[in-house]
């Protein structure tokens, strides 16, 4: 059995990232994710890595681009408004096929919004976020353990696909303390990085770019990226629980899934046969698993801390094979389990 730690979500994530070989962190302060840069500023020198407090999120993401082009494992973190500022850079990373890990410990919006938990950035994260037709893998932790474990996985997946990857957490996950099994980092088998900019010594120059002006080049590049996004689909990860006898499934991710788990216990205590479907990858969305579920369960309710985003993916996944309902709790505060239980009862 692994050693057990008691950690804050933001720190568990940074701890996992360093274990996975992240040696370059560039970021700008914003609540509720400040424990991440603070952790790196304390620990990067011991890890023989580098921490820079950048002048802005725009600079952070472009520093990531440079370190990644040099072959290093690099990450940044921010919260919603800061991640909006990074979108041009994330698009450039995708177009240039550079691996990077971007953590969004979301807060509520729009605008400066508030510092409480929100899932209002689901669309931004799962639809690329910036300009151009690109996608990033999106991992959605729902516990301090997953903040740590998915941070380790993130670097491998980013390297495997040469693509930026987003970890979509929220204020609750970033700020809460939980026990954590101190699992070791186990690397996936990864291809060699023969594309990095290290100086053209004994080889032809390497080039990292996203500008394609010559006739036909852009189309060709986009088809190549499209194939890559399609190949990412095998990375789907999800949790299904109490679905064997379920009449109804609650679909929820992140903090909403934690609240939903309590609401499902309340429903079960009253004899309602309710199960949970929790996507861990929001992109690729586990559409096949949902479609399979919808062959025997005919009612789904998507519970989110927004006014209706993931529900669209749930609807697309189950097609017309089941009815899909929505319970939204607008950004500002998480819903109570009682509120979610009431929503379940109403639809059940």
């Amino acid at each position: 059995m692994e050693k057990r730690l008691f950690m804050k979500g933001n720190e568990a994530l940074a701890y996992g990232a360093i274990k996975a070989g992240c040696r370059y962190y560039f970021g700008y302060p914003i609540t509720p994710q400040n424990e991440i840069p603070e952790y790196f500023s304390r620990h990067m020198s011991q890890a023989e890595g580098c921490f820079i407090q950048a002048e802005s999120e725009v600079a952070s993401i472009n520093m990531i681009l440079g370190a990644s082009a040099g072959g290093a494992r690099a990450m940044t973190s921010s919260s919603s408004p800061g991640v909006s500022l990074m979108q041009e850079g994330i698009s450039s990373l995708a177009g240039s096929e550079l691996p990077a890990v971007i953590v969004n410990v979301t807060r509520s919006g729009p605008g400066l919004g508030g510092i409480s938990a929100s899932q209002g950035d689901y669309f931004q994260a799962t639809r690329g976020g910036g300009h151009g037709d690109y996608r990033t893998i999106v991992l959605a932790p729902h516990s301090v353990q997953e903040m740590h474990d998915l941070a380790m996985l993130a670097f491998d997946l980013a390297d495997l696909y040469r693509n930026p990857l987003v970890i979509l957490a929220d204020a609750v996950l970033g700020q809460m303390h939980e026990t954590l099994e101190d699992r070791p980092y186990r690397a996936l088998e990864l291809p060699p990085k023969n594309w990095t900019l290290t100086g053209a010594s004994g080889r032809k120059p390497n080039l990292i770019k996203s500008l394609y002006l010559k006739e036909g080049e852009m189309e060709k590049h986009n088809w190549k990226l499209f194939e890559k996004y399609r190949s990412m689909k095998k990375e789907v990860r999800y949790e299904i629980s109490r679905a064997e006898d379920a009449r109804m499934i609650v679909a929820a991710f992140g903090t909403s899934a934690r609240v939903a788990k309590t609401a499902i216990q309340m429903a079960r205590a009253q004899g309602l046969k309710v199960g949970l479907f929790r996507p861990i990858t929001l992109y690729p969305f586990p559409e096949q698993a949902l479609l399979d579920l919808s062959q025997r369960v005919k009612k789904f309710i998507s519970v989110e801390m927004n006014t209706g985003q993931m529900v669209e993916d749930v609807k697309l996944s189950v097609a017309r094979d089941a009815d899909v309902y929505f319970h939204g709790h607008p950004p500002g505060s998480p819903p109570d389990p009682e509120e979610v239980f009431e929503a379940i009862k109403k639809v059940y």
Binding site: M63, G66, I208
Partner: protein, 250 residues
């Protein structure tokens, strides 16, 4: 017969696409000569800005990356921190560096990042077709200042070399021109010194090169060179504004 002049090894053997009379080709050559002089080709990485400057990767026989508009100094920061024994330079125009990228250039200089910045100041946006730049001179007509730049409306042209020289992190800041053979020789010396100081871990080095853009100035190449002398140099004086000596390197 002894060969006295040839293409620098760091430049590929392909013709430049630049307009007749444009100074980008000369600047490419000066940078390549500095790389060759110190045998840096196999450990130098170039970061291209956006605009006419972006095509450095077509011409230099070295590893290169392209940065989003204005962000080359941030990209160079990340790369240099990851590979501190390599030589890293950015190549940026005036719109890229002094307008959209003002924040990145100032903070990169202020951190004393050990990189070299080649700043091509031709007082106009080139690739997008001749719009007003932060360095456009008062009264200068561009496609977005059709009545001439007016300080009431547009503010004043920015002197980057002087501004960056005020920062403690800057080790070297100079402005040079390319309108006469004598100025080209001085420019060559400044570019060489910037690379040499980077090799010696002296900190942030910056060379601003006043450059002609005959196409967007609506002048022929000779008249464009005359404009550099008569209009640009009086407002953008040539010289070295900051030069850290080895002894005062902190």
């Amino acid at each position: 017969m002894k060969q006295v002049f040839k293409r620098p090894a760091s430049l590929k053997d392909i013709p430049f696409h630049f307009c007749p009379g444009c100074h980008h080709g000369t600047i490419h050559r000066l940078v390549a000569e500095a790389i060759d002089q110190y045998h840096l080709r196999e450990r130098t990485i170039g970061i291209a800005g956006v605009g006419c400057a972006v095509f450095v990767y077509e011409y230099f026989d070295i590893d290169t990356a392209e940065a989003p508009h204005g962000r080359a100094p941030a990209v160079a920061t990340g790369l240099k921190r990851a590979l501190s024994d390599r030589i890293v330079f950015t190549y940026q125009g005036d719109g890229d560096l002094a307008s959209i990228g003002m924040s990145e250039i100032v903070h990169t200089a202020n951190r004393g990042e050990n990189i070299t910045v080649i700043f091509v100041n031709n007082t106009v946006y080139g690739m997008t077709g001749g719009q007003m730049a932060p360095t456009t001179l008062l009264g200068q007509q561009t496609t977005t200042s059709p009545y001439g730049r007016d300080f009431n409306q547009d503010g004043y042209p920015i002197r980057m070399a002087e501004m960056l020289a005020t920062l403690e992190g800057t080790a070297f800041s100079a402005r040079v021109a390319l309108n006469t053979p004598a100025n080209v020789m001085k420019a060559k010396k400044a570019v060489r010194q910037a690379f040499e100081m980077q090799m010696n871990d002296m900190g942030f080095t910056f060379v601003e090169l006043l450059s002609a853009c005959p196409t967007n100035w609506g002048l022929n190449p000779i008249k464009a060179n005359e404009r550099v002398e008569k209009e640009l140099i009086p407002y953008f004086p040539l010289g070295v504004f900051k030069e850290r000596k080895g002894s005062d390197h902190f």
